[in-house]
């Protein structure tokens, strides 16, 4: 059977009567949580001072609301850009890329006997970002987006463009640090060629796998031998610039021809 607190106990609880012992206060509170009738009685038991205070606060809040122009709606135009271009979280991979390239630039500057690490690593600079631009782990809404008509090469190119816009300035800075031995075209063109190669290969095995495979292959076939021999390969000498431009154009064209392969992102 439910035992209600007496009206006197509720009045004393409402008044904050210090004579009410702790056990009674606790039992009244427990009861009030579950009894609407007693809560209503409690509301009627408040003192005139309490009711006057509540009325005063309510009137003050009403005056503030009437005087304030109200919250402004967030401008849609600003969020639209973010929605379409920056849905991912570029900071982690950008920080990692900048740290690696910065170290490479310092080593290139202070260890002149070594081949330029900036040149050796520039082709790989955008690949972590490109891999992250479309992967289940990096994009929480991957499955939702994969079922929309916008999914395809256009979306991937848009995200890749964001990666390049962020990475190329970093490359420019690190190339400037090692300016005495670094040809800007030999930094930029291999970087673009490897980006195009990642997308093309990605249409077959997935962009994530393609990026990892190309990074491993370049490191094993070019970076390691160059460091062992302490000289740059022919691929990264000024004479190769035209070759890189041609390769970039061909890879980009082939990627565009395979546009339909990007409609279903499960192959990524």
């Amino acid at each position: 059977m439910t035992t209600h607190p007496t009206p006197s106990e509720i009045d004393r609880y409402a008044d904050g009567d210090p004579g009410l012992d702790e056990v009674t206060v606790w039992s009244v509170e427990m009861h009030l949580e579950n009894c609407a009738d007693c809560r209503a009685r409690l509301a009627g038991s408040t003192t005139a001072e309490s009711r006057a205070l509540v009325a005063e606060v309510a009137a003050a809040v009403d005056r503030e609301i009437a005087a304030d122009p109200g919250p402004t709606r967030r401008a849609f135009s600003g969020t639209r850009v973010r929605q379409r271009w920056f849905v991912g979280a570029p900071l982690p991979w950008l920080a990692m890329t900048a740290a690696v390239l910065g170290t490479a630039a310092l080593l290139t500057r202070f260890l002149p006997e070594m081949p330029s690490l900036v040149l050796l690593l520039a082709p790989l600079a955008p690949l972590p970002g490109v891999a992250a631009a479309w992967s289940r782990r990096a994009d929480p809404a991957w499955e939702l987006i994969a079922g929309t008509p916008s999914t395809g090469l256009t979306m991937l190119l848009r995200r890749t463009a964001v990666v390049l816009v962020l990475v190329i300035p970093v490359l420019a800075v690190v190339a400037a640090v090692g300016a005495s031995r670094t040809n800007p075209a030999l930094v930029l063109l291999p970087c673009l060629a490897f980006t195009a190669a990642t997308l093309l290969l990605g249409s077959l095995v997935g962009v994530h796998r393609a990026a990892l495979g190309l990074m491993a292959a370049w490191a094993a076939a070019v970076v390691a031998p160059s460091l062992a021999a302490a000289e740059l390969p022919t691929l990264l000498r000024p004479a190769a610039t035209g070759g890189w431009a041609l390769v970039t154009a061909v890879l980009a064209a082939l990627t565009l021809l395979r546009a339909e392969s990007f409609r279903r992102l499960t192959t990524y």
Binding site: R73, R74, F76, T79, Q83, R84, V87, D139, P140, A141, W142, E143, L144, I145, A146, G147, T148, P149, S150, T151, T154, E260, R263, R264, L265, T266, T267
Partner: protein
């Protein structure tokens, strides 16, 4: 993104919203859907089956996320297997995955707007469609709240809002009632019944009571195959007191599964 003509977004009717013949779909290396035949028309269809029956894989294939490994699959009158153009079907699809991922910093309105844009809705129609979808799921008061601040039930409702923002002709919802309180579940059932009057709605769930209350048809799958398809009342007729379950429909569900397993074992 290219402009989409009015003709491409116009509502078209199809005798069958979904037609699958001997459909096979892989989940990783496992053939989760293995020779499934299914036809779905307008109405609310409840997809039932035990864990591992292939429900989620089937949903992903219907949503054109997974490519069929075999058989034929037509969605809204268009083939979506092989090298077919998926865009027309995707424009008329709504999909709520089981594990619904979202961008925590987006507000509900931004998220639904973004999904409407990805669904290539006409630009001028997006703001009103977004507001309508948010209103229909009862999130009007939270429209400008960031997703990271919402409760599990509210997030689920935001997921439903993005699924229905384009007034889909085929709406696929994988476990939409997870995280909803009883009142919200009742509201969702009512919304599903409303949507099912002029669209094909397929709802995957473990809760037989949700299917009985909201669906016009039950689709029972097990081990990647169709076990039974029919009205909720007919499902109940298959069970008796000797089968597990708290309701006639649950007992019918248990009876059909047991028979299918016994037949498969022979």
């Amino acid at each position: 993104m290219r402009a989409v003509s009015t003709a491409e977004t116009a509502t078209t009717t199809h005798p069958w919203a979904v037609q699958a013949e001997a459909l096979k779909v892989r989940a990783g290396r496992h053939l989760a859907v293995d020779g499934l035949d299914l036809r779905l028309a307008t109405g609310v269809h409840g997809l039932l089956g035990p864990n591992g029956a292939g429900k989620t894989t089937l949903m992903r294939a219907l949503a054109t996320v997974l490519k069929p490994a075999g058989g034929r699959l037509t969605v809204l009158g268009r083939p979506v297997d092989g090298r077919a153009d998926l865009r027309p079907a995707r424009r008329a699809l709504g999909y709520l995955p089981q594990h619904f991922g979202y961008y925590p910093r987006f507000t509900v309105r931004e998220f639904v707007t973004y999904m409407a844009w990805l669904k290539e809705m006409p630009k001028v129609a997006i703001p009103a469609a977004t507001q309508r979808a948010i209103d229909r799921v009862g999130l009007s008061a939270k429209a400008d709240a960031r997703l990271r601040t919402l409760s599990g039930g509210m997030l689920r409702r935001a997921g439903v809002a993005q699924a229905i923002v384009n007034d889909p002709q085929l709406l696929l919802m994988d476990e939409p009632t997870v995280g909803l309180d009883p009142e919200q579940r009742l509201d969702l059932r009512e919304l599903l019944r409303d949507l099912g009057t002029d669209a094909c709605v397929l709802v995957s769930t473990h809760l037989v009571e949700d299917v009985v209350a909201a669906c016009t048809e039950v689709v029972l799958v097990n081990e990647g195959r169709l076990v039974w398809q029919g009205a909720p009342a007919a499902l109940a007729a298959h069970g008796d007191d000797g089968h597990a379950g708290d309701s006639p429909a649950e007992r019918g569900y248990s009876a059909l599964l047991r028979r299918h397993r016994a037949a498969a074992a022979r």
